[in-house]
Symmetry: C2
Subunit: 240 residues, 2 copies
């Protein structure tokens, strides 16, 4: 059995290496990559069906790497090992995970035992393992009152990138008014206006405020926006 470790921090990488050796005695060799780009490349080597992946790396995010890995070989088992449980990450992952894949999401704050348990469950038993803190975010997204719809999220991202209502409408195949309606809903859900009383009616530009709130609430994060930006550039050139 071969395991690929994708992690840019050398200290964390060596810690992971020890944990993998301890948890999985059957491992023959451990391959390491220091960013998503390299990880994608090494994942193409034969017999590399088990990956431990850090999110938040410099050159290429773990989510982007996982996207291409799963696109090429959907049966690959990936354990995401991250500092944070931002909704942005959770949403990004749950959008790309294929039905046939086993995967996991373990926080770096977890104990070594939890990590080893997850390694065995995912790579040996093909189970799904999600830290509770992460799972709660996943769960909240399902409820309509909490969390954002996929559609709302898409509009939010476009607004955060700095597109006008009209351009968002073209991109999402909606009318101008519908985009504004979606935004209106976002302003409510993100609690753009200060609670209850309106001491400061004209103090907030709701559009920009919504983006700020989404960043505060970890619904958006800069890495996600960076990825969305490259897709936007492609769209601006190609389609329109």
């Amino acid at each position: 059995m071969r395991v690929l470790v994708v992690e840019d921090d050398p200290l964390h990488a060596s810690y992971l290496r020890e944990a993998v050796r301890g948890a999985l005695p059957g491992v023959i060799d451990i391959v390491e990559a220091r960013d998503g780009m390299e990880g994608e490349r090494l994942a193409r080597e034969p017999g590399c069906a088990s990956v431990v992946m850090d999110l938040q790396m410099s050159r290429r995010t773990g989510i982007e790497a996982a996207r291409t890995i799963w696109a090429e070989r959907p049966a690959t088992r990936i354990l995401f090992w991250s500092n944070y449980s931002d909704e942005a990450y959770v949403r990004g992952i749950s959008r790309i995970v294929p039905k046939e894949a086993a995967y996991g999401y373990v926080l770096k704050t977890a104990s070594e035992d939890r990590l080893k348990l997850a390694l065995r469950a995912i790579f040996l038993e093909a189970q799904i393992v999600i830290d509770r803190e992460v799972h709660q975010i996943q769960h909240a997204r399902g409820r309509p009152e909490r969390g954002l719809t996929e559609a709302e999220h898409a509009v939010l991202v476009d607004a955060a990138l700095g597109l006008t209502d009209r351009c968002i409408a073209r991109r999402q195949h909606l009318s101008l008014r519908s985009v504004q309606n979606r935004l209106r809903g976002l302003y409510d859900k993100l609690e753009v206006l200060p609670e209850g009383n309106d001491l400061a009616p004209g103090d907030f530009n709701q559009r920009s405020r919504a983006v700020a709130r989404a960043l505060q609430k970890r619904i958006l994060n800069p890495q996600e926006l960076e990825y969305a930006e490259t897709k936007l550039q492609a769209w601006l050139r190609g389609d329109r």
Copy 2:
């Protein structure tokens, strides 16, 4: 001699501990804090004039902790040890460092020797040590054509928080038109409109686009915005 280590990642903390012991044989004891809050408290202990500080911690940023530490005892020597060299960090630090303080900024990608050298230079010799990569950003800020003025930066932050032009004007003690002028300058410097040709004239909301670009260029980061948000809330309640 006593050294305070403020670092939320246990792996990095133990690495730091070893480096401090190796570089400074005269160290009697090493105190550790796992976030900025705890760091501020422990820094008040007597004889704690040397601090190694991570930026980017969960509960309270390293910059915030450094601000209060230096406000209370400006002679404290602080070595910032960070993953990134974002302009947002560099700007934040250079705003709060007192004249009489020795300090340093070393990236986590630096070798162990570089780290040890910096520890000795700052804590024993009271020198200033800045990694080259960080220093280049500091330098670019001085030039007027590159980088943003303090005034422009303040307006940018307010806009990113979602304030209207009018509200920014009140906050910065400017006229409405001046705020719009500053924003206009920002739109140029941040290259809000796609280069040269204007294929898409009405596609961008420049205000939101400017924030997105600033995040991409690491001129703003979410932690900084979070701090600015608390200051904004205080201002909204108190002054106005």
